[in-house]
């Protein structure tokens, strides 16, 4: 399964559901939160959020009776964690008032927290099954990568990148800022490839790829402990946020049943 598949799937779902919602809104007006469409969106969104909150956690703890890959459950967790809140957002009928407004805010916070958590989570190298790699394994992978890079750069007019030349030191900035650093590296590499001799362009691209892999491994080796600590801190924040969200949601559902659904 490709990396980021769950994000694409969630994006397509949001665009699709959003298009249908837009058509309904233009044709019949904004669906009321208590109407058939609005109510349906709310119920479905909440069920997805419940799934987000429970299924992945249960799978993580089911060590002795595993069912499905942990990474797949994480993708499902991310997918439902994005689509569910989006449906709940449509359920609000764009009216944010009272408890419903707090609930919407809490939902947004949990989603945002989830994105941050996924970013930190990917800083910790894992196996295909989602199990975290140990530092020794990382060092072995780094040694292999260096050997491969050295063989590849023979006969190539090549200068190490500033990131490679600077080296990697253990820091929480390395974990949180790696995305920006990688972005600049990829941008600079693209620019160099555009100006390189077309005959050597392929080899140069391979060298730059290997170099980036070296940098990433050096970063993981250097900051594995910091990344794990950040992930633990994030859990400490994310879990209460989720609990608050569902507690408020239960209040909201109870009030809706009391004042509307069961009203005579």
């Amino acid at each position: 399964m490709r990396q980021g598949t769950e994000l694409w799937a969630a994006g397509f779902t949001i665009v699709g559901v959003g298009a249908v919602y837009l058509w309904v809104m233009l044709a019949f007006g904004t669906p009321r939160a208590g109407g058939l469409v609005g109510h349906g969106l709310g119920v479905l969104g909440f069920l997805l959020m419940i799934s987000t909150e429970t299924l992945y956690s249960l799978r993580k703890r089911a060590v002795h009776r595993p069912w499905g890959r942990l990474s797949s459950w994480l993708k499902f967790h991310i997918y439902t964690g994005i689509v569910g809140p989006f449906l709940v957002l449509l359920h609000t009928a764009w009216s944010f008032r009272g408890l419903a407004a707090v609930l919407s805010l809490a939902t947004g916070l949990v989603v945002l927290s989830g994105f941050i958590g996924r970013y930190i989570y990917t800083a910790v190298p894992r196996t295909a099954d989602g199990l975290a790699l140990e530092i020794e394994t990382l060092r072995e992978q780094l040694a292999v990568a260096r050997q491969e890079l050295q063989e590849q750069v023979k006969g190539v007019a090549w200068e190490p990148s500033p990131e490679a030349a600077r080296g990697v030191r253990a820091s929480w900035r390395v974990v949180l800022g790696r995305g920006i650093e990688d972005f600049y590296y990829r941008l600079r590499t693209w620019w160099q490839l555009q100006r390189a001799n077309p005959q050597l362009r392929g080899q140069l691209a391979k060298v730059r790829g290997l170099e980036l892999r070296n940098i990433e491994l050096q970063r993981q080796v250097a900051s594995l402990g910091i990344a794990r600590r950040l992930l633990s801190i994030w859990h400490t924040i994310h879990i209460p946020l989720g609990v608050v969200l569902f507690a408020l949601a239960l209040f909201h559902i109870g009030a809706a049943l009391y004042f509307a659904t069961l009203s005579r």
């Binding site: 939160a33 208590g34 909150e53 429970t54 956690s57 249960l58 703890r61 089911a62 060590v63 009216s95 008032r97 009272g98 408890l99 419903a100 859990h235 400490t236 879990i239 209460p240 946020l241 989720g242 609990v243 608050v244 569902f246 507690a247 408020l248 209040f251 909201h252 009030a255 809706a256 009391y258 004042f259 069961l262 009203s263 005579r264």
Partner: protein, 538 residues
Amino acid sequence: MDKPLGCLTRSGLIAAIATVLIAGASALISRFQIFSPGALNASAAEASRAGINSHAEIPECGACHAAIWESGTMGERCLACHEGIRAEFDDPGSLHGVLEDPTRCQTCHTEHRGATSSLTRYDMLDFPHRMTGYSLAAHTMGESEQTVGCAGCHGHPPTTFQVGTCDLCHRDLDQEGMAAHMGWVGDDCLACHDGEDRYGAVFRHAETGFVLTGGHAEVGCAGCHAGAANAAALQATPRECVACHADADVHGGALGDDCSACHLVAAWAPTEFDHQTASFELLGAHAEVACGDCHTDLRFLGTPRTCFECHAPDDPHAGELGFDCARCHNEEGWEEITLDHDLTAYPLEGAHVEASCEGCHVGGRFAGTPTECAQCHIEEDAHEGQYGTFCGACHQPTEWGDATFDHARSDFPLTGAHRAIPCVQCHEGAVFQPISTECSACHGDPAYHAGLFSANCSLCHSTSAWLPAQFNLAHSFPMGHEGAGGNCRLCHPDTLANYTCYGCHEHRRAKIREEHEEVSNLANCVRCHPKGREADDD
């Protein structure tokens, strides 16, 4: 499981408890206002109640929302304040009085949509307007120019309706028609129209059981429904013809009330009366004539049924043939005679069948028509009366030439070849009497006879044929000479007055001369041989 679920961790439980406490406290402090999905309507009521002038001033949710464990409904709490609405329930003419369940206020009236939002929000297409006694089936609801909104018919409040409102729009659609219509029924449209099956141009009169066709389709509504200004009066309009057309009854009521027995709706004339029901089926020319030709002054009772009663003036026979016209004529016309002449004393045969009636019945006179041939054919008598007046003795009715005279009855029975020749060969010029019965009267004496015989042909000939003939007179020379057998021309090749022996067997001229050197006349053989024998000359 090595670790508890996140919600069961200490931080999770603390967060859950804190959330419940804070949310619960907020609900109590705000009197559950935190659950309000939107602001309540702030429009001031016509009269305050318990110091409250609008919904927005209601302090508690429970004022409107009945708890599950409490009796009563939300609608009843609405009506507790809106007493005027409750009063409408008993008025079937009011808006709320026609609703199936008027206590379900929230069906049409919704709250929490903002301080200035309307409290009444319902889809006009869903509103059971038919329950008010007037269906909107013919009025497309909406807010566009092509549709009708509440304000199009109603004032404020929408439960009011002014008589004459319909005219404001419908006069634009059909000014002339509306003016005429309202001129005789007035402007209380709802007295008749229910918007569903009794409205305007699409009203189908046929569904009332009275189809408007023919003349009825041409008259205006007031023509039949004069003075009817409500549905009941319209429906009470009599359906019998005489109810409206009694004054137009040209029969003076003599034929009863069932006009439709004879007349069509399209017009009084032509009628569709089934004349068979009067035991007088109209056939032929009778079907073409106008009713008034027989029913003078449109009087139907007592109309004569026999031909002569009507057609006496038309009788060219001046009554001399009696009064039963149908004996000879039928309904197709006077010219078409259907008399069966066989039933008369003079059955028509042969050429008489083809002859025109006028040929015998000159001047259309039938009585006293002669039955003797000569009485009609006297001028055609080729015999100029020589055989009397009974043509039938010889002639057939087919044609004059088809005569069957029995010649045996005459003095000259036809035998032999006489039987096969046409009459005129003997009776030239159709002269039949007197005529000679001598053969020579018809047959001349042939040159072959050389005048040897008189006119008595029968001496030798029979009537069968001229030949063979049988000579019965004295003949000195044996007629059976050398097998001649009575064949005259064997010895008399030219005429009977001469003979020759030459040309037969040994009678060659050269040979005869050689043998008769002493005879000078070698042509007269009989002189020496009278019996035809060689030894005769002895």
